[in-house]
Amino acid sequence: MNDKVFEPKIIAFCCHFCAYASADLAGSMRLQYPSGVRIIRTPCTGRLEVEFYMRAFENGADGVLVAGCLEGGCHFIDGNLFAKKRVNSTRNILEESGIEKERLRMVNISAAMATNLVTVINDMVNTIKELGPNPIRKSIDGSGGEYKEFETLNSQK
């Protein structure tokens, strides 16, 4: 697939206390990241359930990035450590279901690490570009994996 056509649709779950703040900072610093990355603020990555990741892929997300605080720096002490375990077990379920596990990734970012955030986002985008669109998109919208709003995909379920 041509890179120009395929702009990966990535859901980035960002913890309110670190990655979300660093995304804010990235904005103030005028740092750019691809527009296909949609940031969802979460109170803590420990709030994120396996179901959330599964639903994102089921509805056509090309990748899911989970960005929590640095290990040892979680506002709720160990939420990010639980998140890490859940992300790892979800990667196995995804692989069993036929989705490459590289499409789900967790990173650790502090509120001051705006440039690092942009780097990990770009890394993720590159990984997904190499993998191509979510393999089930084709059968959801018949588009062969071109960009489509999630809402539309959802309503076709």
């Binding site: 359930e49 396996v50 179901e51 599964m54 639903r55 892929f57 089921e58 379920i93 995804l94 069993e96 279901s97 036929g98 989705i99 393999p135 089930i136 059968s139 959801i140 379920k157």
Partner: protein
Amino acid sequence: MIVAKRKKIPEIFDAVKDHKNVLVLGCGTCVTVCLAGGEREVSIISSALRIASRKAGKKIKVNEFIIERQCDNVFIESAAEEIKKNDAVLSLGCGAGVQAIAERYPNTPVYAGLDTSFLGILESRGVWTEKCMQCGTCVLSDFGGICPITRCAKHMLNGPCGGSREDRCEIRADQPCAWQLIYKRLKDIGQLDKISKEYPAKNWSTSINGGSRTIIREDHRI
């Protein structure tokens, strides 16, 4: 409680792949507590099946429903409407739940989404261990409340076997020697004399070896 674990998605998908509408049916009792077949797992396994189905170019509609207890007709009733709307049921109940649903719906294919593993307890967060293999003639009172049938790898009633290393079983080093535990426990409760009692060979006819079992309480029958 009954402890079970999820089957791998390819195995589950293979079982349901020829149906158009599949109901993933959870159970709110034991398998919810052992994190294998409750509301969350219904949601996760349903998502996985939808993904696997689309990946295979199929359009299986996967529906989700949970009842309080799958091994009880009174509760199965509450799933009647949902079951009728679907061509097949993927039960996330234990083996008893799967069979109870199948018996109740003779024309609906019912598949098992879990591997029912044992009767046990939650040892610590995320760890379940087997405690009883339902031999039908409980001897716990004589062994300080530690089951030699289930927890000794050789099911010995006159243990130990003599092969234990430190406090570990010679068959599996990750397990404590049940007889070491029994000895310590009897000593702690002042009943060490019980350990010198010789036990006759166990009568296994009350266990599953005597065929599947039925309990009838005439005083409760109507």
